[in-house]
């Protein structure tokens, strides 16, 4: 018995140590970004695009990346939404039998696992084929592809939890599967659909690998879909190894903005989902 006790004590210590390692390293990353990024922030940084000599320590801010990131991620999320809600609805038992549905789920899980650089490469090949260069359009396409599997799988899980009695009731009252899906399932799964959208948005706005060769990089705010677009992640990637401390400061500022954006979206999504699920019939 006492050997068991000793083992229990040893493993308890090991488990606490592990949890401490995980917590400290993750909190440490947030802390480093906030501590390094906060001093680099200023009104100019957030409201100006780069000016002459930017990469040698000249003036200007990171507005090009902030606007670029929002344009890329918001458009990609909107496009992915229409696609994902269709696929997620298809996966419900009213529209597919279990074998094809599970096959599609497997494909989605596989797509979720594909490294984002591969989405970038594929879009790059298509761009070369069609004959367009690095552009906002290509970046949006890459991010949309990246977001679809994430969004669809989370929507699917929330639609699957809609209680069957409600669907049966709608059916009994004479509505067909399409009407039930739109009026009952989508509304009941609303909080889950919202959190799926926000989760995918968070992934999209933070991803650098897929937009590296597709969206390109520019000092200007894009004026058309065929202009190149800067983004926060690519800006961090390019500037954080710069030899000039002022230029590195912009990477820290960009990381601060990006991290705050991602964390706020994630926390707001949790709170909203919790609040909205009060109106869901359980």
């Amino acid at each position: 018995m006492s050997r068991g006790r000793t083992q229990e004590a040893v493993f308890r210590v090991l488990m606490l140590l592990s949890l401490a390692v995980v917590t400290v390293s993750l909190v440490g990353i947030v802390a480093v970004v906030l501590v390094k990024g906060a001093p680099a922030l200023s009104v100019e940084m957030l409201t100006r695009t780069p000016t002459a000599g930017y990469y040698m320590g000249g003036g200007g801010g990171i507005l090009n990346a902030i606007v670029g990131s929002l344009l890329l991620a918001v458009s990609a999320t909107v496009l992915a939404f229409f696609f994902s809600i269709a696929v997620a609805t298809y996966l419900q038992p009213e529209f597919s039998s279990s074998r094809p549905a599970n096959a599609v789920r497997t494909v989605l899980d596989l797509l979720w696992g594909i490294p984002s650089i591969v989405y970038g490469v594929i879009c790059f090949v298509i761009m070369a084929f069609v004959g367009i260069g690095t552009s906002l359009l290509a970046g949006i396409a890459a991010l949309t592809l990246l977001e679809i599997p994430i969004m669809t799988r989370v929507m699917d899980e929330s639609m699957s939890t809609v209680i069957p009695e409600l669907k049966v009731s709608a059916h009994v009252l004479g509505s067909n599967p399409a009407e039930t899906a739109v009026n009952v399932v989508w509304k009941q799964a609303g909080p889950g659909i919202l959190s799926a959208v926000l989760l995918a948005f968070g992934r999209g706005i933070g991803d650098a690998a897929s937009i590296l060769f597709t969206a390109g990089f520019t000092d200007f705010i894009p004026r058309s879909l065929l202009d190149s677009a800067a983004a926060l992640p690519t800006m961090i990637f390019f500037l954080s190894t710069s030899p000039m401390p002022e230029v590195r400061g912009r990477a820290y500022a960009a990381a601060f903005v990006l991290l705050v954006l991602v964390l706020v979206v994630s926390v707001v999504s949790r709170l909203l989902t919790k609040r909205l699920s009060r109106y869901v019939v359980k």
Partner: protein, 309 residues
């Protein structure tokens, strides 16, 4: 029998429903087709290089000289194995121990808070991990760790990349593992405790054993993510396609070499074909890991449901 109070049905109800169903089917078909398109495009593009050189030559040659059309993948593949292997070696024990603690030892609200905390942090963009590592980890490895082992290092090396990769897969493995442990039916724990086992004995001999396939699938998911992680590794590993002489030497991984050379490759013949072949190998390995993970998880869920019922 129609009565005067009955309202006319909205027009085209049936047609709309049929159209709706067809649209959903089309969307699902497009998603599935896309996976095949990805593999097909990469294969088609990679075939160009394979017509000129044999696959074993490419895989086991160490000569990387794009200007002369020599693409030896061996150092890159080895670099990927080193970085991913070391990262998993560090991440797996820490993640599993943490998730056991969260699932079995923390009660009530604390558990909810810890799980949400891990999930929120799983969303930190990888470029942020990379930047923090350049700020903190690289100087530490350069001035602290490498001299300890008697080697000089720039800090941009296999070890740094593996360390930050380990931190990046913590949330993935922990998040899946906690769910897996919680899926083990409560009755199994109670039965073990009732015959006199301690809490840890129950965890080790009953919960962990029942959850083992699920844990394995979590590790595979983490492995797939680590193998494909691009930006953070590209920022840290040094991106030199040569066999690293030590853990503190620069190397390259499959995704990192794609990310760092993609822009310049168009001017050199066969370069893009070589990159496509790298991407193809990358995607096939990741798909294999993820497929196995899914297979094991499905089996686990089936058996757990069977036992729990």
């Amino acid at each position: 029998m129609p009565t005067s109070t009955e309202k006319a049905p909205p027009p085209f109800r049936h047609a709309k429903a049929v159209l709706f169903r067809r649209a959903l089917q089309l969307a699902a078909f497009v998603v599935c087709a896309f996976l095949f398109v990805v593999v097909a495009v990469l294969t088609y593009k990679a075939a160009f290089l394979l017509r000129h050189e044999s696959l074993p030559d490419i895989l086991f040659s160490s000569e990387w000289n794009p200007m002369r059309g020599r693409f030896g993948f061996f150092p890159i593949i080895l670099g990927s194995i080193y970085v991913t292997g070391l990262a998993m070696l560090l991440a797996v024990p820490v993640s599993i121990l943490s998730s056991i603690y969260i699932a079995e030892y923390v009660r009530g609200y604390g558990k909810h808070v810890l799980k949400s905390f891990i999930d929120v942090l799983a969303g930190i963009p990888s470029v942020v991990y990379g930047m923090c590592a350049i700020l903190v980890l690289v100087p530490w490895v350069r001035d602290g760790v490498a001299p300890l082992f008697g080697v000089s290092s720039t800090g941009f090396c296999v070890f740094s990349a593996a360390l930050v990769l380990a931190v990046m897969v913590f949330p993935i493995i922990i998040s899946v593992c906690v769910d897996v442990f919680q899926a083990v039916p409560q009755e199994t724990r109670e039965a073990s405790l009732a015959v006199g086992a301690t809490k840890w004995q129950t965890t080790k001999l009953v919960v962990l054993r029942a959850a083992l396939p699920g844990v394995f699938s979590a590790v595979l998911l983490g492995l797939g993510r680590a193998f494909g992680e691009t930006i953070a590794v590209a920022m840290l590993v040094g991106n030199l396609p040569r066999v690293p002489r030590s853990l503190f030497d620069a190397g390259a991984t499959l995704p990192s070499i794609i990310a760092s050379t993609y822009g310049e490759m168009m001017s050199v013949p066969r370069y893009d074909s070589a990159m496509m072949l790298l991407a193809l190998i990358l995607i096939l390995v990741v798909l294999l890991f993820n497929y196995l993970a899914r297979l094991i998880k499905r089996n686990f869920e089936k058996t757990q449901l069977g036992e729990g019922a």
